[in-house]
């Protein structure tokens, strides 16, 4: 039975992991699906605790887990379909698709709410997280994403038409673009997805799929025609540029250096931008490439870790210089482009300024870089608009790159600029996907004290997002945070503590913090007079005490006296956290309870049960219950020993009756 429970929990983890590995959902259902997947992922800590717990569970509880697994795996199948299935189907049948997703949510919510959490050995934090997931499922009920109506209308109008006239070209164009059905492999894949639906549906395809097949055929014809046309156009362009060359030849124009040409268009670049692999392309070309749904660098075939395009100012100025030297008019960047990119800035002057800053950041000498990073740090601090504009101008990857410089001032400015930028919700993801974490961790380890503090604060700010908690923990941020908590200034300690708190909400990070030795530091902060860190330390201890290793170490660190003291005299928040720690300690070793009682726990506990915060009351009640259970057990054992003692003299007579009647 015990093993079966572990196996069920493990298989639950496996299905959720499979869901997490589903790469990308079709844009039309992206939001619904990724929300669903994200919520399911939040359940993993619960499954882990169930798997690891030693307490047996009864058959009924096991059944609820098995039925949850069924719901999750049927969710998995449908999510797969939403990732691999026909794009056209997912739009045209959007009512059906959303209602299916809703149905899945409802089913998940039902199976989740049937689980008898009280009977399972689950920590409060995990329990709270599960409740959050449940409430998210409930809230999501009946809420449908506003999807792209134009796309939907277009597809349906194409279905009705399929005639011979070509006034539906614009609709085809929009559909092909929005669904990323512009390239042969995409089209082939879509056709296979439709084939799959027909083949697996068995038998009759149904009229709607036949219509979709028709629409796909129209899109294919359209795309193939476009390709032909653009090939013709290319020929035209080439011949006209040949014409130019012939006039140019008479002027003896030197050959344009290859580096000045976009690898995609082979034309001289007007607005060169760098992608995450370090390659440079003409902005419009690479934008088109990415918009078409590609996620690799066209030249190197490496995956693009982010879609950020950083202006290559140096190259642009080199091209301009070369043009000037050769008496050619330099290619102008499309004028409509630049102002749009920095639209968040109020004045063109500021837009210019930011462009200049980027330039210096990217290619200036260390002096330039230092002052530019410092200015960006201040600008990003000033207001929200600046944070958006600076990120849009491509500052994030540049700043991330500068984290690794040996110059400690540059490091400090860069990490602080990132901290200020991270206040903007949208930047949080961009910073992490620009690969900032390893750099920040490095600064946290080796930077100046101020840089370390700000690195910790940045990690705190980034860890607000759940996915980031996992990434940050995995990239080794926790041990240096623990070090900072131990040896930092007051500010450093605070920053480290808040970051650690956030990170340890994710179950997988608890063990990392514990093994990095956070607990002795925390218990010291509890007792150190004037540490000013009691609130933070107790809060972190409360979440770590649910972890089996954490429990053991706190238990052996002689923390009970101060915990009792906090329950007696602490702030409401500290009282509940101290009680929470105690609940966990006592669950594994009732001896702590005896000790706490001796230290006068009873009075404060009864008071907490009556006057504490909600959570405080709950914790106090749990402790009181344990105390009375313990007392009962003691009575029993006492009675037993007494009985045995009494029975001793009359041993011979007692053979017919058991001693404990």
């Amino acid at each position: 039975m015990e093993e079966e429970k572990g196996a069920v929990a493990q298989s639950l983890i496996d299905v959720v992991n499979e869901i997490s590995s589903v790469s990308e959902y079709r844009t039309t259902v992206k939001k619904l699906c990724s929300n669903l997947a994200r919520r399911l992922k939040l359940l993993v800590p619960m499954f882990e605790e169930i798997r690891e717990s030693n307490e047996p569970i009864d058959d009924d509880a096991l059944k609820t887990l098995v039925s949850l697994r069924e719901s999750i795996s049927s969710a998995k199948d449908y999510l797969r379909f939403c990732s691999q299935g026909s794009k056209i189907y997912l739009v045209m049948e959007r009512e059906q698709v959303t209602s299916k997703l809703m149905e899945i949510s409802v089913q998940l919510e039902e199976s989740l709410s049937k689980i008898p959490y009280e009977d399972l050995d689950i920590s409060d934090e995990v329990r709270e997280q599960v409740e959050l997931v449940l409430s998210q499922f409930r809230r999501a009920k009946g809420r449908v994403d506003a999807s792209d109506d134009e796309l939907y209308e277009d597809l349906h109008s194409l279905c009705i038409k399929s005639g011979g006239d070509d006034d539906y070209q614009p609709a085809l164009q929009r559909v092909a673009k929005k669904l990323h059905l512009m390239e042969i492999p995409d089209l082939a894949q879509e056709s296979v997805a439709l084939h799959e639906m027909v083949a697996s549906g068995g038998g009759d395809a149904g009229e709607s799929i036949e219509e979709m097949a028709m629409v796909l055929k129209m899109i294919k014809d359209f795309v193939q025609m476009e390709t032909d046309n653009s090939e013709d156009q290319n020929v035209g362009v080439n011949s006209s540029s040949n014409g130019q060359t012939s006039t140019a030849v008479s002027h003896k124009i030197p050959v344009i250096p290859d580096d000045f040409r976009c690898p995609i268009s082979l034309e001289m670049m007007r607005d060169p931008v760098i992608v995450s692999t370090g390659q440079t392309y003409e902005r419009t070309c690479i934008e088109k490439w990415i918009e078409a749904g590609h996620s690799t660098c066209p030249k190197t075939q490496q995956a693009l870790t982010s879609t950020t395009l950083t202006p290559n100012y140096v190259l642009r100025s080199l091209i301009a210089q070369w043009c000037e030297a050769n008496d050619i008019e330099p290619p102008k960047p499309p004028s409509s482009l630049r102002p749009r990119k920095v639209s968040s800035f109020s004045s063109p002057a500021e837009a210019n300024k930011i462009e200049d800053l980027m330039w210096r950041l990217a290619y200036g000498n260390p002096e330039d870089q230092r002052s530019a990073a410092g200015e960006i740090r201040l600008l990003a601090k000033r207001n929200a608009d600046n944070r958006v504009a600076i990120a849009e101008a491509g500052a994030i990857p540049l700043l991330v790159g500068l984290l690794a410089t040996p110059d400690s001032r540059i490091q400090e400015h860069s990490v602080t600029a990132l901290l200020n930028l991270s206040i903007c919700e949208n930047n949080k993801g961009a910073i992490v996907s620009a690969g900032a974490i390893p750099g920040i961790v490095q600064v946290l380890k080796k930077g100046s004290m101020e840089a370390r503090e700000n690195a910790a604060a940045t990690l705190f700010s980034l860890s607000v997002i759940d996915e980031n908690k996992v990434t940050i923990g995995a990239l080794g941020a926790i041990p240096p945070l623990v070090v900072l908590l131990k040896e930092g200034t007051q500010r450093g300690k605070k920053d480290a503590a808040t970051a650690l708190f956030n990170l340890c909400i994710y179950q997988g990070n608890k063990g990392k913090a514990i093994r990095a030795g956070v607990i002795p530091t925390l218990t010291r902060l509890l007792t150190e007079p004037g540490s000013g860190m009691v609130d933070e330390a107790l809060a972190i201890l409360a979440i770590l005490s649910s972890h089996s290793e954490g429990k053991a170490i706190i238990g052996s660190s002689d923390a009970v006296p101060s915990l009792v003291e906090f329950i007696r005299t602490g702030s409401p928040r500290n009282r509940e956290n101290a009680a929470a720690v105690l609940v966990h300690l006592c669950s594994s070793d009732p001896q702590h309870l005896v000790e706490a009682q001796k230290l006068g726990l009873m009075g404060p506990l009864i008071d907490l049960a009556g006057n504490g915060t909600d959570r405080g009351k709950r914790k106090a009640a749990q402790l009181l219950e344990r105390i009375s259970r313990l007392a009962e057990q003691q009575k029993e054992t006492a009675a037993q020993t007494q009985n045995e003692e009494e029975a001793e003299p009359t041993h011979s007579a007692s053979t017919t009756e058991p001693a404990d009647t």
């Binding site: 082939a188 056709s191 083949a199 009759d204 009229e207 036949e210 193939q224």
Partner: protein, 228 residues
């Protein structure tokens, strides 16, 4: 001939759905044969097929309504997207070559090999020499193809998608043969399995309505195809 009836999907009940696949080299005219059969259309500047496509047409065979679900795929390797999945559930295949291009005929054994590797072994196959309208450019004598077909146990016809010669005929031959095979199977297996769509294997087709008792199976009649 045009307007040979049944285009645009006869509404109403469908007794059978048969999946049929078209294969053969690029540009032999697979897509045009399908367009001619399903919609009575033809285009001279047809584009190479990308991935897979399908169209349907419902025929009447021995008073049963039979839906032909015809799948077409790219002959060009780089536009192809599926292999084994494409053949899954197929009960018939049209193996097409271009009578004016020798290599398309020379490749037929390869296509046959692929078909036999991936498709059901009872699949009904018809060999089609297309573009018979281009008699003056003929590269493959009819006799050669006939001989090959006999050797391999295939049906054989020469067609022209352009002027519609034999297109109707070739699909009808294929569908009727499938229909007969399925019904023979169903009768022979009805005794032990008590159903048509049992696991007897393979060539079940997709049966929508189980035919009532006393059904006549008139073998080898090629009356088919609904009203005109």
């Amino acid at each position: 001939m045009a307007g040979g009836g049944g285009y645009g999907g006869a509404s109403g009940k469908v007794d059978y759905v048969f999946k049929v696949v078209l294969i053969g080299d690029s540009a032999v005219g697979k897509s045009q044969l399908l367009a001619r059969f399903a919609r009575d259309e033809f285009s001279l500047d047809s584009k190479a097929t990308i991935g897979v496509e399908f169209q349907t047409r419902t025929l009447l065979i021995e008073e049963k309504s039979v839906k032909a679900q015809i799948w077409d795929t790219a002959g060009q390797e780089r536009y192809r997207a599926v292999t084994s999945a494409y053949y899954r559930g197929a009960v018939g295949a049209m193996l097409v070559y271009d009578i004016t291009k020798r290599e398309t005929f020379d490749h037929i054994p390869r296509w046959l090999e692929e078909l036999r590797a991936h498709a059901d072994k009872n699949i009904v196959i018809i060999l089609i020499g297309n573009k018979s309208d281009l008699e003056d450019q003929r590269a493959i004598p009819t006799e050669d193809a006939k001989e090959f077909a006999e050797k391999e146990g295939l049906f054989f016809l020469e067609t022209s998608a352009l002027n519609a010669t034999n297109v109707e005929n070739s699909f009808n031959t294929l569908m009727t043969e499938i229909f007969n095979t399925v019904n023979k199977k169903s009768l022979s297996s009805a005794g032990n399995q008590g159903g048509l769509n049992n696991n007897h294997g393979s060539l079940a087709g997709k049966k929508i309505v189980i035919p009532g008792p006393g059904q006549e199976v008139t073998a080898k009649t090629s009356t088919c195809c609904s009203s005109s």
